[in-house]
Amino acid sequence: MNINYRKELIRLLTFLSGLYFFLEFLTPEAWLVSAFGKDFSIYHQRISEGFILVGAMAIFLGVINLVRFHAKAILKSRKGWINSAILILSLVVTLGIRSSEVVLQESRVNALTRVANWSKFVGVIKEDFYSGENKNAPDRLLTLTSDIEAFEKEITSEDNVFYSQDSSAILEKLSKSKLETQILRLAYERLDNRQISTFTDTLSKTLEESRQLAFSASQNKLDSSSVKIASSMIFEAFFVPLGSAMFSLLAFYVASAAYRSFRIKTLEAGIMMFAALLVVLGQIPQGPLYIYSGLPGIREWLLEYLSTPAFRAILFGSMIAGLSMAFRMWLSLEDSPLDSEAE
């Protein structure tokens, strides 16, 4: 008998994954803590992220499939190939612009992290100094000064993520922080505990203010970059109007369908139409369109005592069906695409 190992492996992985999430959801947290000795949520978080990542990979498969299908249509000049060409072009342009935006954003985050680490570094120097781990605080502060100086030079370049109208304000803060670093260095050399504590706080505060200025300056720079403008334009000028227009068409179809299908041919159809009219009229704004003040109450009654119980029953039914479907998939009882592949 031939065993399809690939199929069996997928069945096994499906079962184990389902079992893991099932047990994780049902097991009380206290049991997990006592079984693993520490907070299990840290492991669960990593496992969940892994599954999310696997799901994200499916997007790439989708893109590959889409490109293959439409590229074939273009190459063979099939009917409607121009639509395929527009689709591929849109995909490439959007992907290119969005990727550039991500790269820009990443460089900004890295630069911001460098600035954010300065105030943390000052705190660490103080902690290490008092714990006796690293007594060389004055030299470490010199390193900080040279990094601030290097940063000062970098942000005067127009290409830098922090270069903007606010650059002078950042430079001012950086000069102040350099001066405060020197004062703190002297305090460390003199071993003056009171001054070390006071000047560490002052310097940390100035560095934090520099970080905030750098944050807003880099945000402004990013917002005014051509990549960002192009990305916003794709969304606001193309995607939003096209998406809204597609959905808006429904309003016209619904109006036409309501006119044609709401004919009182039977008693049931009459009841349904009358109930629908009461619900619609019950939420019409007050003023010239307001027919009867009791309509909102009637609408509420219809929704609360007729529609909701009926929908709850439907929901229960569909949930039970969903649960049985989930069990079938978990236990690989459903037909798999791999079965048809084998056939």
């Binding site: 669960h44 978080q45 109006a255 036409s256 939420q283 704004p285 609360e304």
Partner: protein
């Protein structure tokens, strides 16, 4: 003959009437007072009773895109406005990738609007709100967030990549217990069910509010009548009713998008009702005429 014509009006004429009745009030800036809805009042009261000195935050999950923008955007904006007026810090996020650009623009626009309305007052990013951006994973993300010992390390950064540890309004936020309310607006069937099902821990579940599209009202109503959510915005009518409550509380407030859209929608609905009546009239009279002649 005339009755048969009434029963079979060309669909293009219907389209034209719907177009004019829907857009004319919006273009002309006509606004009619929305009808009060108990679900919107419950939504309003739930935010009114929040405490802005507790250090706890509100999470807004804005799970909608351009397709249901007309209904979900006014709902989300009104909720954001209410939170900003009460100075309750909130984190805005989404499970739906196409919603991301709206997360950036909505709070910023509302802050500008409020600053114009109340000169001298300021609403700042990081202190009044934070944009977490799109988070993939659906129910897995919600479960992870609920069980996380430190929400900041779970989400790691905001939408611009800033570490959440450096965001002032999140300084005292650790676990789910520091979230006092969840607001979710969506037009996707089943999306809110994920929050209801998984955004809880053994001994705590934040209050929940929901904004749905008109088509998902029956589903959303089941959660409201069972008490699983404390307030509900039913489509654009719900958003308009909520805006009315905000305007009553703040007399200088200008009518929002929901109020304007709801007025246009009301005219279009009256137009459709008129066509339904005409269609039935034509149907009955032509049937009667056929009966008489045969």
């Amino acid at each position: 003959m005339i009755f048969e014509k009434l029963a079979n009006i060309d669909r293009r004429i219907i389209y034209l009437f719907v177009l004019v009745s829907l857009s004319a009030p919006m273009i002309m800036g006509v606004t009619l007072t929305p009808v009060p809805l108990p679900t919107s009042k419950a939504f309003f009261d739930s935010i009114e009773k929040l405490d802005n000195s507790s250090g706890k935050i509100v999470i807004i999950s804005s799970d909608w895109g351009p397709n249901t923008k007309a209904e979900n955007k006014p709902q989300t904006e009104a909720a954001i406005e209410h939170l900003m007026r009460k100075r309750i810090p909130f984190a805005i996020t989404t499970l739906y990738a196409l919603a991301e650009p709206f997360l950036r623009s909505m709070p910023r626009d509302i802050a500008e609007k409020l600053e114009k309305e109340a000169p001298g007052e300021k609403w700042e990013y990081g202190k009044d709100w934070v944009n977490i951006g799109y988070k993939p994973g659906g129910s897995l993300m919600i479960q992870g967030l609920a069980k996380s010992a430190d929400i900041r390390s779970f989400w790691k950064t905001d939408a611009s990549g800033t570490p959440l540890e450096s965001i002032p309004m999140l300084k005292s936020v650790r676990s789910l217990k520091d979230v006092q309310l969840l607001i979710e607006t969506t037009g996707l069937v089943g999306a809110f069910g994920q929050w209801i099902g998984f955004f809880l821990v053994e001994d705590y579940r934040p209050d929940m509010l929901h904004g749905c599209t008109s088509i998902t009202i029956p589903e959303a109503r089941t959660y409201f009548s069972s008490g699983q959510i404390t307030g509900l915005l039913e489509g654009v009518a719900g958003a308009a009713a909520y805006e009315k409550l905000l305007s009553d509380q703040n007399p200088n407030r200008l009518p929002g998008e929901g109020w304007i859209t709801n007025t246009g929608l009301a005219f279009a609905q009256i137009c459709i009702i008129g066509f339904i009546i005409i269609g039935n009239l034509g149907f009955f009279l032509s049937r009667k005429r056929r009966g008489e002649s045969s």
